[in-house]
Symmetry: C2
Subunit: 225 residues, 2 copies
DNA sequence: GGTAAATAGATAGTAATACTATCAATAAAT
DNA sequence: ATTTATTGATAGTATTACTATCTATTTACC
């Protein structure tokens, strides 16, 4: 049961058995991130994942109902992690402007932080989130799964950011819209820079995360002035 | 070959045979919009579509390689249509502010315009775009398909909007980012209002499109001042 | 250290999906 | 009236997304 690093408390309807709690499960998570990155959601199968960890399909089905739930688990883990980083960086920071700056920095640049767990490569997970996370909620059963709380980590995180926005600008009418848009915009614009460059002003070079952060700060503070 | 209504010139790699050019193809399009809306992309199959138009799988495969290409065809059609509406409403309109207002109105409210074609229900197509369009480009082969020009309609449209932004505010550094974000934001916030209300300030009532338009205008003009 | 309980491996099987191929029937174009 | 293009009917294959069962191996704990 070798427990390593931090663990997040994720909604228990996401999994059959929480992979964070066993070394097999941690291997599963670790390999699934690499494989989602490699194959994309559509080509990813439990059979291929089983091969990657020298295991069997049946064993993986003991942890997750299907690959959708696995992706949802990873996205929830990711948002919990970003929320955790934001919390840490907001401690003892009172200035509302600086607080929002820190939030935007963490949204865009979280994956450059030092790793928290041996079995999650946050950097590659971020890539997976950019490419695949929208598929986790653009589904037929979104209402049912929302009732079950399967998107809670994201909603809590958006609420956290909305509160930072409200503290800076209490009269602003759309704090939740702006907050969720910050997350969606960040993912989209990185994706566009990498794949559909005509849809963004961000160039696909090393500096892109910093440039994006700058752009998002610029727009955000204009909106809130 | 009964040709009805307007036709858009879509990239020929989207289809094997352009469905706009035959009455069978038009029936196919018409039914596919309803079926995507009904089932969602994942549960949609060519077999079910064939049943819906009393035809066979094999016949549908003569028009489209797979359901991904069909969805991509519909999204391109949709963006061509929005572009067409924007063009019409910008004729003889010189004031840069009013031009941007019209653009935002069309992005959010296009589906309330009077229908252009008998075989496309633009209103339901808009719903499909909101729910499914992001899956059309979040794919492994995005770079290859982009080279083939399969996302051209969207890129042209974003460029059109970016130009309207530039005319209003020539010194603004991120016109493409803002333009693509207007489209993505519009779809996302409607989706959130309907399914994940904690992520937005827009309430899910009749007025939501107008409220969203108002919110987007407010933020957009703040950014460009 | 020994035994029960939990976990993982191995294998098999099924229904549905995503196609491809072939040939006959029908509608359109000349 | 006849060639040509289009659609229908049917069959077949590999892969996917599971479920079930039984055995082997760890792990927990007394």
């Amino acid at each position: 049961m070798g427990e390593h690093g931090i663990q997040f408390d994720l909604n228990s309807d996401l999994f059959i058995k929480d992979p964070q709690t066993s070394s097999y499960g941690q291997k599963l998570l670790s390999a699934s991130i690499l494989l989602f990155d490699d194959l994309g959601f559509e080509s990813f199968t439990f059979k291929k994942l089983a091969q990657a960890i020298s295991s069997t399909e049946a064993s993986i089905y003991r942890y997750f109902e299907n690959k959708h739930k696995l992706l949802l688990y990873l996205t929830n883990w990711y948002w919990e992690w970003v929320g955790y980083l934001i919390n840490i960086h907001l401690i003892n920071l009172e200035d509302p402007k600086k607080r929002l700056k820190v939030v935007i920095h963490q949204i865009v640049n979280a994956s450059n932080e030092s790793p928290l767990t041996p079995y999650v490569n946050e950097n590659i997970l971020h890539k997976v989130i950019i490419q695949e996370s929208s598929k986790a909620y653009h589904i037929r059963d979104v209402d049912k799964e929302n009732k079950e709380g399967l998107f809670e980590s994201y909603q809590t995180l958006v609420d956290k950011v909305a509160c930072v926005i409200k503290r800076l600008s209490p009269s602003f009418a759309y704090p939740y819209m702006l907050a969720s848009n910050l997350f969606e915009m960040s993912n989209n614009q990185i994706f566009f820079a990498e794949h559909l460059p005509k849809l963004t002003d961000i160039k696909n070079n090393k500096d892109k995360y910093n440039k994006l952060e700058e752009a998002m700060c610029h727009m955000c503070f204009k909106i809130l002035n």
